[in-house]
């Protein structure tokens, strides 16, 4: 699903904080651009990429600015070694180590360190699964449109957004949107309303 084509599921956020100028916006996108996995035990990586292609990092500044919108994507890569496979590899490695060193038992710390070693080796062979979340930030209106539908992706977007641009984002849920559309109606007043009772006695 994409803002660019086909059906799309969208969430809106209200952006709070000073809007960065073009230079600061690009600096934030570059600073927290998506960087591929390196060696290590890391299982998730995330960062900004270009909306046209997730392999373009940092987002191309000539394409980020689209009229009053800043458009870019958040790429979230995950890589996992299946537990069964990891356990099988570790068991074999432990057996061969015991045989090689003629050991009756291998201590807990050594087992953990061996398991990590095996995991790092296997992680190198695993292809990451990328997820791309599109973001269209209406810089004048202070609204952010995104295709982030899961709470995990929304959480990642919220955290990285404040880190990169110093702006908080809040979901545009009924009370927030109501306050924005009808500033003459205080949010406290809306919260104090009793829900309508449609239950019928004869039902």
């Amino acid at each position: 699903m994409s803002i660019l084509q086909g059906t799309v599921s969208l969430k809106r956020f209200l952006v709070l904080g000073p809007v960065p100028d073009e230079k600061d916006l690009q600096a934030g996108l570059e600073e927290d651009q998506f960087r591929p996995f390196q060696d290590g035990l890391e299982e998730e990586r995330l960062g900004w990429c270009d909306w046209r292609n997730p392999l373009i990092t940092p987002p191309d500044e000539n394409w980020v600015s689209q009229e009053r919108f800043a458009v870019f994507s958040l790429r979230i890569d995950t890589r996992r070694v299946p537990t069964t496979l990891l356990k099988a590899h570790v068991d074999l490695r432990l057996q061969s180590l015991q045989k090689e060193k003629d050991l009756a038992f291998i201590g807990k710390e050594a087992r953990i360190s061996l398991a990590d070693e095996v995991k790092v080796e296997l992680l190198r062979k695993v292809l990451p699964t990328p997820r791309v979340v599109e973001v269209a930030w209406d810089l004048k209106g202070g609204i952010l449109w995104t295709t982030a539908s899961s709470s995990k992706a929304q959480g990642a977007l919220t955290s990285l957004f404040i880190k990169s641009f110093g702006c908080e984002i809040h979901p545009l849920a009924p009370l927030v949107l109501s306050g924005r559309l009808c500033p003459e109606l205080p949010v406290e007043g809306l919260m104090a309303l009793d829900p309508l009772d449609l239950e019928l006695e004869e039902a």
């Binding site: 799309v8 969208l10 394409w63 809040h170 979901p171 009808c182 919260m191 009793d194 449609l198």
Partner: protein, 182 residues
């Protein structure tokens, strides 16, 4: 207040907004009520109703015409409320179809009117414009609902109860004309 708490606090308002859209789609031809707005908003073929009480917590009515079904009004009369609803907004020859979530007001599985742009940036501009147009139609209605809800809550409750009562007996018929027919 944390965003999640704020969302929970406003859930009833989202549910009532969906009910109001439903009521107007059947009795006012889906009009927003705003002068000069020729758009119409209709409940499509999917409604999900939920309740915190009772033996049945969730009912999904799909395909056919659930918004006029007796099952839907039976559920409403037992205190169930819409959690999600598929809506169709028509304005001129443009059409938006999406599922509106009561708690978040997120638009799911949104089908936009076709874009005419060929190059990626042209298509993007078209789609962003259409997104804002669609959201604008919804927001105009939310404004109308909020004024009705805060202006005369008793009157709104009475008219909704009468609508539910009539729906249970199968008496609810589209009484209003679609905005573009007037």
């Amino acid at each position: 207040m944390k965003p999640l708490e704020l969302m929970e606090q406003g859930r009833f308002l989202g549910e009532e907004f969906l009910l109001w859209l439903w009521l107007r789609s059947m009795t006012e031809g889906g009009a927003s009520g705003e002068d000069g707005d020729g758009s119409g908003c209709f409940v499509d073929d999917s409604i999900q109703l939920v309740s915190e009480r009772g033996e049945v917590k969730e009912i999904s009515l799909r395909k056919g015409n659930p918004s006029e079904s007796r099952e839907a009004f039976e559920a409403l009369s037992r205190g169930m409320r819409p959690a999600k609803m598929k809506l169709r907004i028509l304005s001129g020859d443009l059409e938006w179809v999406f599922t509106l979530n009561a708690a978040t007001l997120d638009m799911g599985a949104l089908k936009l009117p076709p874009s005419t742009g060929k190059a990626p940036h042209e298509r993007l501009h078209d789609r962003l414009f259409l997104l804002e147009e669609g959201a604008g139609h919804l927001e105009r209605r939310l404004k109308g609902f909020l004024h009705a809800r805060t202006g005369d809550p008793e009157g709104l409750q009475e008219s909704m109860q009468a609508w539910v009562r009539a729906g249970r007996t199968g008496d609810v018929l589209p009484a209003g004309e679609a905005p573009w027919q007037s």
